[in-house]
Amino acid sequence: MAVAAQAVPRATAVTRPRKEREQELLVWPDLVFIEFIAAVLFTLSFLILSAVVDAPLLNRANLDITPNPSKAAWYLVSLQEMLLHMHPALGGVIAPTFALGGLAALPYIDRKTEGQGAWFATPYAIRITLFSAAFASIFLVGLVLYDQGRHVNVITNIAQRVDADWEWPGKLAPFQNVRAIQTGWEWHIPVPEAAQLGPGEHDGELNWPQDFQNVPMPFNGTSGPDWMRWGAPDFLPGWMQAMYWYDLNMNTPTFVVEQFIPVFIMVALPFLLIYILRRLGWVQDVRGGAIALFTGLMTSYFVLTIIGAAFRGAGQDLVMPWDVPKID
């Protein structure tokens, strides 16, 4: 019965009332000719393009000579760009999988039938699109520039004209780039005598990053009281052992830099975008939110592709397009 009930609205889309016939054209010639002309135009233009521009062929493949930079195909360059800023599994696999999954799930989230069959048919659709594209571009370019850290040189140069001994203060290392949280940031919190736990000497301070590099995870089988200590789970098949965090001590600074901050940004920015658009009153339903997120995703893809393809030189350094070395 459920199937029959579902079939009713669908059937109306297929059978067309008589009066609609007057709105209809014959596929031959009205559509077939357009398709034919389009095919001819594209065949011709690609023939001309292929006669003028040759496909690249570099030197014979050689795994002993690594070109610098070595880049992925252009449609994967955006993922390669993400690898520079976060954990490789997160940037190269997990985030894109979520993006594709979200893309596929879209019609099951936005189920209303309004706004179909015409460009930007819902209210504020164009505004949402433009705003989301600008939002994503500005934040992405800003984040890439921040993580590249060129501003550190600029500010240091200026400050050293005033005071030749000036250096970027260690407390402000996170403002250099995200990796500096792990490698350049230092702070110390004095720990009262009573709270100094664990065996051995205690220096009386909690120091970032060294005291956070080896934090035992709960239930890892090697930390905690005696009853929480057990042997390696040899009885599990290998792939399960790989998933179980036996013996795992977390490197907190690395985790923060490579996973926590990137995930936080990738989740928080879409939420911020939707929040702003709702406050503006432009996003009023699921379709509006879908337009914002889809536009944000597409813009991120394009911006990262452009940065990765045209602005990454030797050593994946951020350079101007004309400074990207030609590889052979």
């Binding site: 596929v27 992925a72 195909a73 099951y108």
Partner: protein, 251 residues
């Protein structure tokens, strides 16, 4: 059997048309008459296996170029053209590390129109990736994924990934520095996937690094495996467009 109209013009034109289009052999091939009357124009679409991708009639807004920019059809056109140029290239290409690069050089210098075919194949491959993206954006911004077309959007997402996979597998075949390092970078990315990553990488490469096993695997996937899968999903994609009543229309 379809009954067709046969308007006959006077004079020599009509006589010629009779001889050309009304003889026994012609009519055994093309069952509808010359498509110059509405009835024959519908029959020519309905009785032809290729044109039968279309309905016989279509809403007049749907032939407006700006409604779709022909992007889906263009993607299909690229797929067909890539098949033709790809078959041409296969005649001259041996997928082995010893010979692939030499074959490419021969294709560019010794073989008539070899360079043209290779250029066409490469630029159209890029064109197809771009047109798939643009088609997806067209479908999204015209709201054409909404009921009853939900699942066809999912099929479209699958076709997008298949297009990227087709392009990626083809990228290795020239066996030059660009090819091998782009694939190395891509496969290293896949290798970082949790749990399944390393196995996926090993299966696709047939070894620890991009070598002869990887080349033959990518070649097989590129010339037959992925095109077959893509063709099946394309058939589903087109079939469902017809079943869902053609292009989406405002309510």
């Amino acid at each position: 059997m379809s009954v067709t109209e046969q308007p006959r013009g006077p004079g020599i034109g009509g006589w010629l048309a009779d001889k050309l289009f009304r003889n026994y052999i012609w009519r055994s091939i093309f069952r509808s008459g010359y498509p110059n009357t509405p009835r024959n124009q519908m029959l020519v679409v309905a009785t032809n296996v290729f044109l039968h991708l279309h309905p016989t009639r279509i809403h007049k807004t749907h032939v407006r170029i700006t409604h779709t920019y022909c992007l889906g059809g263009l993607t299909f056109f690229f797929f067909l053209s890539l098949t033709v140029t790809g078959v041409m290239l296969m005649f001259y290409y041996v997928p082995s590390p010893g010979q692939a690069y030499t074959d490419l050089q021969a294709l560019e210098t010794n073989i008539r129109f070899g360079m043209l075919m290779r250029n066409l194949h490469r630029w159209m491959a890029h064109g197809m990736v771009i047109s798939v993206f643009l088609h997806m954006m067209r479908v999204f911004y015209t709201g054409a994924y909404k009921p009853p077309r939900e699942f066809n959007w999912v099929v479209g997402v699958i076709l997008l990934t298949l297009t990227l996979a087709l392009s990626f597998t083809g990228y290795l075949l020239p066996w030059d520095q660009l090819a091998i390092w782009a694939v190395t970078v891509g496969m290293n990315m896949a290798g970082t996937a949790p749990i399944l990553g390393e196995d996926t990488r090993l299966i696709l490469l047939g070894g620890l690094e991009v070598g002869d096993a990887a080349l033959i695997r990518f070649y097989t996937l590129h010339v037959i495996g992925l095109p077959l899968i893509a063709a099946i999903f394309m058939a589903v994609h087109f079939w469902r467009i017809r079943r869902d009543g053609g292009l989406a229309r405002p309510l």
